[in-house]
């Protein structure tokens, strides 16, 4: 666009346009100042209304409790201030520790497999030797389109001995049923549903990151005689680290907040209790036993835990990036 100075602002096409700019900017600054605030206004308003206010309300609730009034055998409840009572009982609940323990086991299976498979598929898609790339990429991505509730239902049928094609095979071979829905197989089964759902999405993230690597990087390595595997390990993976870190964080947050899969499978097996993971405990308190303050306190605890874990991962990632070879 040609730099044409407009007459109204009083600037001239003098040889020193810079000196005339402050005048114009001062006149324009009024508009420039307000514009960004207007642009972010809808987002900020919605954020305050639908995120900030509910969070504040939840925190306030976590300091309340219910007290019985009215005498008689039933009476009804009134909300009163309770200080840290809810936090005390939530943190002292042995079920909570057990719940986090289960999350740990679940996470140990789900996060590495998620990352590992997504990385593997992405690398394979990027490898020149692979065929059927379009088909595979699309097929692996399909589960992303399936809602969690539906996915858990489908896999439920795949797991139950009576309707499972896998157990059918092992039964025909005389090996009995595969214990998908028993302890400890249940962890793998649940992790599988989650992995199945997001591996395609994560694969695409890592793959597009790989595609962004300039080919000069490879040429140098190939000229040196490196084969595809070595290139993958030495060149591609390090350069895809940002994508990997992001995927890891999402995986971790997803693990800490796992809820849909255990809830949908719960009616089909006896090994999943109503307090199997923290989020199910929150649901129980909020919707089943009508104890909102306790649900709020547990939510705050869980949210803080998520922040801490994410911060740790980011710190580790940054330290690796700045300390190691980028």
């Amino acid at each position: 666009m040609p730099l044409v100075t407009s007459p109204e602002s009083g600037a001239t096409t003098s040889a020193v346009p810079r000196r005339s700019t402050p005048v114009r900017v001062r006149g324009r600054r009024h508009h420039v100042h307000l514009a960004p605030y207007l642009f972010v206004a809808p987002a900020v308003v919605l954020f305050v209304v639908f995120m900030l206010v509910p969070i504040v309300y939840a925190i306030w609730l976590s300091f309340q409790t219910y007290h019985l009034v009215g005498g008689g055998i039933l009476g009804h409840r009134e909300q009163v201030f309770a200080g840290f009572e809810n936090y005390g009982s939530v943190l002292a609940d042995p079920n909570l520790i057990a719940g986090f323990g289960r999350l740990g086991i679940y996470g140990l299976i789900a996060v590495p497999l998620n990352l590992g498979l997504a990385l593997l598929f992405a690398l394979l898609l990027d490898a020149p030797a692979s065929r059927a790339k379009r088909f595979s990429r699309t097929a692996i991505f399909v589960p992303y389109a399936v809602p969690g509730v539906v996915a858990a239902l489908l896999w439920g049928f795949m797991y139950l001995p009576g309707t499972s094609p896998f157990s059918y095979i092992t039964q025909s071979l005389g090996w009995g049923d595969i214990p998908f829905l028993e302890n400890p197989g249940i962890f793998g089964s649940l992790a599988n549903i989650a992995i199945w759902g997001v591996v395609g999405f994560n694969m695409i993230i890592i793959y597009t990151s790989l595609r962004g690597i300039p080919s000069e990087m490879y040429e140098a390595a190939r000229l040196d005689g490196a084969n595809e595997l070595q290139i993958a390990l030495r060149v591609k993976i390090p350069l895809a680290t940002p994508a990997l870190v992001l995927t890891a964080i999402f995986s971790l947050i997803g693990t800490l907040q796992v809820y849909g899969e255990p809830t949908t499978l719960k009616p089909m097996t006896n090994v999943i209790s109503q307090s199997w993971v923290p989020l199910m405990m929150i649901y129980r308190d909020a919707f089943l036993t009508d104890n909102l303050p306790s649900a709020a306190a547990l939510s705050v605890v869980l949210a803080l835990g998520t922040v801490v874990v994410s911060a740790i991962v980011l710190l580790l990632a940054n330290r690796r990036n700045s300390g190691g070879v980028a």
Binding site: F50, V146, P147, W196
Partner: protein, 289 residues
């Protein structure tokens, strides 16, 4: 590849190298497709065939199942599908609009409060949906909106992830010089946004739209808490109620399976169609050094 080895050794190795990646990819593809294939086969089975025949044997009940599905509750399935389209379509459009404006401002302007706003909104990702759902419900009830379409639409418009993506894309795709030049030309900010920035941001906007559409379409918890009238349910909640009838009435597995099969199809088609417009490298773009 250049030099072709004539010795048998390297050629064998090269052949094995060629086949293995493809095989692994195909295994992954099959793994991902099995349940989907299953649901399509299972939707052809009648109610009694569902539990009596081998998993992958097709049945003959497809037409009956479809008919039962679309006449259930006086045509509720059709309503659910329509609701999903409205919530996801309208929600994604509005969300893209809001996210684009916010991301653009955060990327291309220096203003007080910029970091605070950005990091606060990003922090929203860490809060579990359940925690927000009930207070949101209570809030919307105060203004009489609970149970209506807005109660499911409004909370999903704010998307921290969408704003993050928009910001990354705006920073990368819109040269500041161009904006400066336009300002010097005398254009006001909205005009600049509309005529210069938005066209440059289109691939990013498509990505945000797509992610929001799928996210809202697949969302279960929010509509489950907000809605009580079955006619307002989206597909996720509707299918869930077919299953969760409690021990008083049997779960309508046949209907739910057929419904699941039917509801997956449009989303797959949409994704296949929009595939070429994506810029998912945006997602890790913000972290690149």
């Amino acid at each position: 590849m250049s030099a072709i080895a004539t010795r048998t050794g390297p050629r064998k190795k090269a052949d094995r190298g060629k086949v293995l990646p493809t095989v692994v990819l195909l295994i992954g593809a099959i793994y991902c497709l099995i349940p989907v294939a299953w649901v399509f086969v299972a939707s052809t089975k009648s109610r009694s065939q569902l539990f009596t025949t081998f998993t992958f044997t097709p049945g003959d009940g497809l037409v009956d199942n479809l008919r039962s599905l679309f006449t259930y509750g006086g045509g509720q399935f059709g309503l659910w599908a329509l609701n999903s389209v409205i919530y996801a379509g309208l929600g994604a459009v509005l969300s893209t609009f809001v996210s684009t404006m916010a991301g653009y401002a955060l990327a291309k302007y220096e203003f007080k409060g910029r970091s605070v706003i950005f990091y606060s909104i990003l922090g929203g990702v860490l809060i579990p949906g359940i925690t927000l759902a009930i207070p949101q419900y209570l809030l919307l009830s105060q203004v009489g909106l609970a149970g209506g379409y807005l109660s499911v639409l409004l909370p999903v418009i704010i998307s921290p992830f969408g704003i993050y993506l928009s910001r990354v894309y705006a920073a990368a795709a819109i040269p500041s010089d161009t904006l400066e030049a336009a300002r010097i030309d005398g254009a006001n900010e909205w005009r600049i946004f509309r005529t210069i920035s938005v066209p440059l941001m289109v691939p990013g906007m498509v990505t945000v739209f797509m992610l929001q559409f799928v996210g809202i379409w697949n969302n279960f918890l929010l509509p489950f808490v907000m809605l009580s009238d079955q006619n307002n349910y989206p597909l996720t909640v509707g299918l869930y109620t077919l299953l969760a009838k409690g021990s008083g009435s049997p779960a309508l597995y046949s209907l739910a399976i057929t419904g699941a099969a039917v509801s997956i199809i449009p989303l797959i088609i949409l994704m296949l169609f929009l595939q070429r417009f994506w810029r998912l490298d945006l997602i890790s773009g913000g972290l690149k050094g």
